[in-house]
Symmetry: C2
Subunit: 385 residues, 2 copies
């Protein structure tokens, strides 16, 4: 399962003591090769955490031998020692694995602005190294959880090679990227450029279309590493498809586990003049607190969908928009014709599908979001206290 | 008080029966002249309600003799009869007051997508006309309330003339414009161009800087009418200052009455390279659900402020940002120096002041917002059910 399904990878997850809960909080994923090509994408937030500032530099040569991850602290905006702690943890992993610090990516998640205890972290890294195993994927996936209720893992198979991945993320989930850490591994043989193309193609239509609460993290990182241990070199298309499948699977798991959510809402926009237009419209609806609160109340309040669509710059004519909720067309021709009664819409289930037909072109996009609930407010007003 | 403090205006508010609650729901404001110059601004939402589509056309000649307003229905996206109902109500006011339909602005507020009962509305208009009075301002202000808990009224005095106004709005309050209806009157003598300049200057720094929940309405309208009854022609600056004072007062009242809010949060950004930058940064913080939920929990989680700042395109260097909450500098030099402990921040009071010092220029702006509370979720998940 997870990051150790691919040959050439070992992983571990341990309790270091960074989390007051005493749950696992340090993970290590090591690529034993023979190849060490890698690619990564990071948050587009301009306020970046120390591990992101570090990892952005490590990936420039397209090579990684390991990723070390911790929960229990974002290591972000916590004074000058924060970056030194990130650097020291990469040096320690390099020392233990016989590699170079610049081949070690670092990921952290937790509260911003808090010190990250270096001795505890370093002891955890040593413990994780001692427990590295070809079966360690699930333990690593568990160690990166924060408010996640379940560990997220996914796999996809190629012809003689496989892709596996793990992810964490439950809040501050908005794209480019969502608040999350993701490590994906493959035993396919592939150079860094091929991996980079596969990863960017995959994240563009998966993690970047997840927007549970409109809040963008300082720590988002998605790493893809190839060991080449299968001896098979897939085509770009085959590799991209498998990586996309793993990313889509993980993104769905993040969606279903979003903090406090009672409904998993897919906002599908069709008939857009461009894919960018479709994404803009879907994201505007996904970020409407009024719409999200209405769904929590099982209220098919499509007026709030329309009000959100109207705030965008997408190409459309208001009197041509159709809106359906769970298959019932409640708004027809922008309200110039009567739609089906809202009372026909059943929102009592977990899954909600909103279809916005712009009737302005042929492009489509879907954004995955959550409803706005009492549990979301509770969880995020009490998180750090 | 309110829209009848200025000489030359009469108003009324009545129970027509549009609201199931039986509360007042139709208001009429009439300008008896001698002048009838006017200006108005409307929602920038591209999905506009029928009364907005109508009123945008009535204002092109800079002349209004009356405004008719209803709560209990937005008259938006409710089939072809909706616009006809708006038109018919303007015709009826014109007939009753001896004017032209194109000199009557129409405003509606309530649920989108619901029919607006024309016979009930028309009976209400007739009743309101029969009750028109120079003391009718407060009754009119009451009749436009929806989820507002108090009627909003304000006045400002010039040299021999006055400005008065009323407003409604509690939810879907985001700018350009906020979800609200506002009518402002003056007995100053002023042409339409002067009124337009005064109104645009006023709304730009008042209503447009109110952003309680990031949701933009389909019905927002702000109307300014001058009767000239004082016989005094103020300078542009004097008129703009008085109109701005009334708009700022009304905006503060809307802020304090935002749906479900427990904290009134002012996000002040200083040291920005431009006013647009300052507004963008302040608005990004004001729209962070995680930050707003933290304030609800009295949690000075400045990491969420920083994470929101980082999503903007404003000019800044992350390591130069200072953040203060209620006067305590919790983040210094973007976390490269330690700030005061968050435990020194007291958020138990209603008023919260967040100061973001970008240290990138000399421009400033303040956005007024609210916290994200259980009451907000409750009110907006149960509103139409």
């Amino acid at each position: 399962m997870s990051v150790t399904v691919a040959a050439g990878f070992r992983a571990a997850g341990v309790v270091a003591g960074l989390k007051p809960s005493g749950k696992p909080d340090v993970a290590l994923v090591v690529n034993d090769g023979p190849q060490h090509s890698a690619a990564a994408v990071f948050t587009s937030n301009r306020c970046k955490a120390n591990p992101v500032l570090w990892s952005e530099r490590t990936i420039v040569d397209g090579r990684l031998s390991a990723v070390v991850l911790n929960s229990g602290g974002a290591n972000c905006y916590n004074g000058p020692e924060g970056f030194q702690t990130t650097h020291a943890s990469a040096e320690l992993v390099a020392e233990l694995t016989g590699g170079q610090a610049f081949d070690v990516a670092v990921c952290s998640t937790g509260l911003i602005g808090q010190p990250l205890d270096r001795p505890i972290l370093e002891a955890g890294i040593r413990a994780a190294h001692a427990q590295l195993s070809p079966d360690g994927g699930p333990a690593a996936a568990e160690a990166i959880m924060t408010t996640d209720t379940v560990a997220k893992q996914a796999t996809a198979s190629g012809d003689g090679w496989v892709v596996g991945g793990m992810a964490k993320g439950a809040g501050m989930l908005a794209p480019a990227l969502a608040t999350m850490l993701v490590v994906i591994t493959t035993d396919a043989a592939a150079d860094a450029a091929t991996l980079d193309a596969a990863l960017r193609a995959a994240t563009k239509t998966t993690f970047d279309r997840l927007d549970t609460d409109g809040c963008m993290s300082t720590n988002d990182t998605v790493v893809l590493m190839a060991s080449g241990a299968s001896g098979v070199t897939p085509t770009q298309d085959a590799l991209s498809a498998a990586v996309t499948a793993v990313c889509a699977d993980l993104a769905e798991q993040l969606w279903h586990d979003a903090e406090g959510a009672h409904h998993d809402i897919a906002i599908e926009v069709t008939g857009a003049a461009s894919e960018d237009d479709a994404v803009e419209v879907a994201r505007a609806v996904a970020r409407s607190n009024l719409f999200k609160a209405a769904v929590f109340g099982n209220d098919p309040n499509w007026g709030r969908v329309l009000a959100a669509v109207g705030t965008t710059t997408a190409v459309f004519e208001p009197e041509k928009i159709d809106i359906s909720m769970n298959g019932v067309k409640v708004c027809r021709a922008g309200g110039t014709q009567f739609g089906e009664p809202s009372t026909s819409v059943d929102l009592t289930g977990r899954q909600v599908h909103v279809l916005v037909e712009l009737n302005a072109g042929a492009s489509t996009a879907t954004i995955l979001t959550s409803d706005l609930t009492h549990d979301y407010v509770h969880e995020n007003s009490a998180y750090s206290t």
